[in-house]
Symmetry: D3
Subunit: 330 residues, 6 copies
Amino acid sequence: MADKGFFIAQLPRDGVVTFLALAREKELKPKRNGGLYLHLVLADRTGELDAKVWDNPQDTAALFERDDIVKVRGSVELYNDRPQLVVQRIRRCEEGEFQEADFCPASARNPEEMFAELRAFVESVADANLRSLLISIVEDADVAAPLKVAPAAMRVHHAFRSGLLEHTVSLCGLTEAIVGRYPRLNRDLLIAGAILHDIGKVEELEVSRRLGYTTRGQLVGHVALGLEILERHTARLQGFPIELKSVLQHLIVSHHGELDRGALKQPMLPEALAVSIMDLLDARLEQAWALIDQAPKDAEWTVYAPSLGRQLYRWQGGTAGVSAGSAVAA
Amino acid sequence: MADKGFFIAQLPRDGVVTFLALAREKELKPKRNGGLYLHLVLADRTGELDAKVWDNPQDTAALFERDDIVKVRGSVELYNDRPQLVVQRIRRCEEGEFQEADFCPASARNPEEMFAELRAFVESVADANLRSLLISIVEDADVAAPLKVAPAAMRVHHAFRSGLLEHTVSLCGLTEAIVGRYPRLNRDLLIAGAILHDIGKVEELEVSRRLGYTTRGQLVGHVALGLEILERHTARLQGFPIELKSVLQHLIVSHHGELDRGALKQPMLPEALAVSIMDLLDARLEQAWALIDQAPKDAEWTVYAPSLGRQLYRWQGGTAGVSAGSAVAA
Amino acid sequence: MADKGFFIAQLPRDGVVTFLALAREKELKPKRNGGLYLHLVLADRTGELDAKVWDNPQDTAALFERDDIVKVRGSVELYNDRPQLVVQRIRRCEEGEFQEADFCPASARNPEEMFAELRAFVESVADANLRSLLISIVEDADVAAPLKVAPAAMRVHHAFRSGLLEHTVSLCGLTEAIVGRYPRLNRDLLIAGAILHDIGKVEELEVSRRLGYTTRGQLVGHVALGLEILERHTARLQGFPIELKSVLQHLIVSHHGELDRGALKQPMLPEALAVSIMDLLDARLEQAWALIDQAPKDAEWTVYAPSLGRQLYRWQGGTAGVSAGSAVAA
Amino acid sequence: MADKGFFIAQLPRDGVVTFLALAREKELKPKRNGGLYLHLVLADRTGELDAKVWDNPQDTAALFERDDIVKVRGSVELYNDRPQLVVQRIRRCEEGEFQEADFCPASARNPEEMFAELRAFVESVADANLRSLLISIVEDADVAAPLKVAPAAMRVHHAFRSGLLEHTVSLCGLTEAIVGRYPRLNRDLLIAGAILHDIGKVEELEVSRRLGYTTRGQLVGHVALGLEILERHTARLQGFPIELKSVLQHLIVSHHGELDRGALKQPMLPEALAVSIMDLLDARLEQAWALIDQAPKDAEWTVYAPSLGRQLYRWQGGTAGVSAGSAVAA
Amino acid sequence: MADKGFFIAQLPRDGVVTFLALAREKELKPKRNGGLYLHLVLADRTGELDAKVWDNPQDTAALFERDDIVKVRGSVELYNDRPQLVVQRIRRCEEGEFQEADFCPASARNPEEMFAELRAFVESVADANLRSLLISIVEDADVAAPLKVAPAAMRVHHAFRSGLLEHTVSLCGLTEAIVGRYPRLNRDLLIAGAILHDIGKVEELEVSRRLGYTTRGQLVGHVALGLEILERHTARLQGFPIELKSVLQHLIVSHHGELDRGALKQPMLPEALAVSIMDLLDARLEQAWALIDQAPKDAEWTVYAPSLGRQLYRWQGGTAGVSAGSAVAA
Amino acid sequence: MADKGFFIAQLPRDGVVTFLALAREKELKPKRNGGLYLHLVLADRTGELDAKVWDNPQDTAALFERDDIVKVRGSVELYNDRPQLVVQRIRRCEEGEFQEADFCPASARNPEEMFAELRAFVESVADANLRSLLISIVEDADVAAPLKVAPAAMRVHHAFRSGLLEHTVSLCGLTEAIVGRYPRLNRDLLIAGAILHDIGKVEELEVSRRLGYTTRGQLVGHVALGLEILERHTARLQGFPIELKSVLQHLIVSHHGELDRGALKQPMLPEALAVSIMDLLDARLEQAWALIDQAPKDAEWTVYAPSLGRQLYRWQGGTAGVSAGSAVAA
């Protein structure tokens, strides 16, 4: 495997550099004094960079496609206070020369480690029928493979490689915490709800170099795709209790909580209420911190997040101690 | 203090009994063959009972008012399969003869014990300014006294004596659980949010023998009354940080989560999001189990709960093990 | 099979009669002068009748249960201008003594005849894969049997025995009419949509003597149950095209038309739009005429229909010719 | 009349051409090396083309106005892979030199032919009063003339010249189809509803070279303008039945179906329900196919349509046979 | 004309009385000891009274119909603390024996006086065309006669005889007040808007002994009926300016203010905004005081008003001086 | 104080000018032929102007910051028909050299004059407690100072310097007008409502060179900030009646009228209804005329106002007489 070389966020401000990047945009443009040049946007999981090819732009443009990974060599220059790259050499990389995960935002956690955690939660389920079902699902290669890489959403929350798995494992952990406070809750059902509620997203969302919906995802949606996976696996298990199956279907169709937010049924068991509300908590907190972390260092407010309909407050007191650094009232 | 005597749920099905009860309804009605009788509904925190006074109904009716606590002696009879009481003697009880809490639904937990827990949560707050404020509030007699008895709502959830305190302490505990899973959350703010978000309810809701809104509660509401309490106490504390005060006000005005559900502002800090969602979780679970516990033993569904817009499913599998007793699919 | 005897709507206004009826209500009540009598409400598909048992009420009450079919003999009397029955003899009927359909409202059309029509629509599907699938589903005994008796809804529209089948066949016929006007529409998909969109109702709704939701129906809903049936049958068909399956799933999840009316996805194909809108047309017209037919003969307006949020206008001009009988404007 | 010359969609990729076009945009812009040039956007009903005038830009700009029809001669060149025109000669055309319909999108059907169809539907109305009224309206020059050219909407559906007439005639035809399936529907009322429901649009929408609302249209709307036309014509007919008039007014005010979608009254007759739902069907299908036809040949999805809140799926299986070309599931 | 005799609100608590009343309810009921009696509810514009006929109930019942005005003689008795009448003689009154207005709630103001005020407002309009139009409308017998008696609504506000006129004149007066504060407002248009916005209610609402919608009112609604009246009268006026007509139509179709509250168009002129908001103010205040005046003397809160979604606070401080009688805060 | 010099709206179309302006935008841009120039947008309360610095752009850019007031000298030139300034000299102005109000839109009325009017309204309050409270508030320097400059909103209505005060005084005046028509309204409460309903905006909105929310404003909002001010001042007044305080709090929390428009409580007193509706009237009319005044002279329609969801009609007849200049209908 070729070395990735520099990550874009760590590029020096000048000098000649060589590194791998995703060719996110590629366009021939007219030069001010006639002729053409090739305009590129290069990207990796740390950021983006404008690049220009002045020599042989048309031949160069034919060497690779948008969304290819390229190996590029060039000199970094400042333009309007922002670095750009003047390209000297560029070529398409083949599969095997790079790691997909270097080129799109990804979970900070190792997918295999998270999967092992998930596996342990499955093993801890007390009910034999339910445990068998969950094992059957998470060991199904058609589920396990995409589960390790799929995002939990295209935007909104956990919108990065392995985000679905990170969200799922986080919810399983939250289960332990909640069951400790509400011992009447059935732990088995909570684990099942944490794992199954979004499982259809393994078929709904593509993890290529651009996050996107699959055609099936757009036509059918992750709720119906999750029901399909559940049906496929309960059909394989001899004597799976029909009542338990209904309850698991209910956890899937009710997890959006309200009919006007995509739920086919409102949650009707305490466990369905808990899964739906914990799902909301985990999604909202991840989204909040992602917004906060993306804001400039000294910004008091994040950008406006359309899916939340608000900006978030980036309070220093939240980390520094709630009284620290505050102006004091007379 | 007079002995309460029998609780209504434990009355024998026949025989002469003496006990204390709340006179919930009182009405003179015409007898089928002319003349009047006195119809009563007697109640305590365990249930209700119809009662009839055949002799001297008008004189008897003058002895006490609706909502008085009465001492009653009479014989239990079955009428249409339900017990009723034929009253022999009845008189009004004076303050001191009875314990208020015997006559309306109340928390299963001891209020003083819960208050001590709350006090401990307050002491555990790390920030000195915030700790001083919370101590000032919970030790204010105008807050502490009603807090020990107020319900958290008239209907919906924790709609019983000391329900507000039970809900508050439960949320504080939930905080510990959540902070363990999301260490970026500021524990001090979560404790403050748990205690302050509904604190205005100490002035909004009356705990007399009928739950009800006070006039101030109906005109102004618990959000504004909570802000008033906060203002009163921050005004007393020299040098309370203005930024922290704003954040506490934000926790109060945002705790209903959405503008169309009574929030003046949407939650804009991770901690405000967490308080609002945990509040929902605790309220929904308490309400769900209350509905489930009130349903007849073999009912599969609870009554329809208008505030939820649904019935809840009373699944035996939830307690007996998710596969137990289930029909097995072929 | 015992003779049904009189239907309630055709009972004479006096005299002794014998007939079969559903015991819809059964309650012991106190007589004005002491003692008890047995109050009954008897019903068949034509209406209801109050009945009273004055002799041996308690023994009589033990002979049958609410919702049993009973054979009753008694004399008809007028009470407050309405007929009631004074019961002389009453006993429970056994299975085989009566026809279920006599005791609840049912389609005016013969279920077997409608099923044959449905079968013919299935045969007319041009695409072999789709035709095989539809045959597999409608010949599945778990589908065909309940399909012949299920209502299309508990209230609202086609809320009677075999209403689902009547609605389905009506939609198939509408398909022919629409395809004639819009030849770009794919007839095969429209037939499939007409048959599959509500197919989950065969498991959602019970047709016993009271219409009602099954537990699975209430927890999971007919959309998810329809997807389950589709999954079960596509799994049995070797090489069923995955794209076609996605489109069929889309027809099911989108047929309520709008996200806030229960659709998981908005219709995204012309055929999905057409199925959803024709479904609305057929449901609304059936409901409208049912309301109109139930109104008294000379009523200008029907009762208020909560599901429509309106009364309907019962215009004589609609049938008699639009100018006939109208007052003429000066 | 001057020859139109090339239509824009059929222009050669190079060479000198002469043709008539609408000057949709006209703006003087600075050249890179100083001085000005004239930037134009030329349009006809088949598409748009950028054009540039390098010589005498200011004098040329004075020769015509935005929205004029111009005769232009120039050479076609490729710029960034898209053709543009370098103008040599350009001049304003006078009325009589061109056909309006060449320059904005128009119905594929001949307006006179459609009007004849409409006239036949009117003649087929059985009720003499209603037939006289409809004849009076469609033969009114103030209605007939704009009806032949008006669009049915500015955006959304049938948003092209004669779109209103195409929509009206299509609905009349749909009436025949529906009456065949639901013989209780009154055919006369359906025809009247199809013709009258949108008739106010003849005064609401302008058909000039830009679709747009008239001032009356924007202030009063097509519902009230339709009522005005109806009032004007019933006033002229001696003895028009008042009840029938009320029903026709009802068809107009209820045709948007729901109060929150612009209906003054919900549909209260079966015929009003049918008109409103068929209107929706015809509008949605036209809009869907327009979106599908405008999408690039190999696009699986159309652009996002804000008025629908969705993209549409452009399924090849819809035309090629539902199984054709599909990937086959294992 | 017969003397009305006592009004129900002023009846003595015992003794024999004779008076005229509306027979709102009339029903034969079984007596406790067999046989029948006649139960009546008598009403006039001041209230209601239960009445009973013990002798010859069936013959008596045949003497008059529900909603007839009757002359009744009987003795007042207390029953369960409420007065009721034991009827001795009762008979139907003929037209001419009574004044309609005594038997349903009516405006406290004299209709002729209010009409004269309205006439004066019309005369004060400066623009000759507009003045002619308004004169034409208010002098049209088909408008003037019902305008003097129609209510402004069936429930909600001004729901009494002549309520529409009272509301209209009140709005005209409010116009003067508002124009004084906002001199840019056109007074003529405000007067026109006050008079025309609800004018269709003269055909929408019936003023018989029961308030109710006419069939036209229910099918077409007062907005469309108002447009019809406007059309009829502008058609009679030679050369009425079309722009002014459009603006008047706009005032009618926009007066409900918001599309989801029944407006066909949102108000688009300052005068249309003002008419719509003043209409709301006048309606809300009348409704508020009606609720307050109907509440028992010492009630702090009115009944819950479904159309407002709230109870109103009956504050003594509002009349007695805002500090008077208030508890004083420590 | 330096002379402001020209206002931007009055600049000559050529020649050399000197004036003061706000530097709203400041950006270095590449010249077409290499090197950089400095692009500026200059603004004052009358408008905006593009400006360019060709010489020493980088040094010049270092002389001042965005949002500074600058003194600029340069020559006016036309570019694409719009004037722009070629800068010769530019420097930052110090406090004292200019009047803030010259650089942002401001009320047409003098703030001190309006404040004196407000003071007079306060003095006119009859109730001593209420008068004392209002004096305490409007004489509080923390209120009075920002009240004289704060806008009433960032957008929507009265969005200019001193807009809050203008809106408040306008509402007080409207009070007089309304009380004249509805003598049951309590004038004292209306004055209090007019003054207090938006008083929190003195802390919510900043009046710097850019209108904007304060951090407290964004977190807490003007409703809660208004409650805080009320609490602070009632706490200072010995024996302020608690009932009156509740009613004042109610006026603040209810003034948005509807729960889904930001009200914590719906208005429950006639005076609360009146304040909320008059607030709407004053806001809407100001906004309407602002839109109308900003539209080009001969435009029939204003721009689309997103907060209103509509364009407004700029009717000449509104000012010129409703028939004047209108086309006359045949």
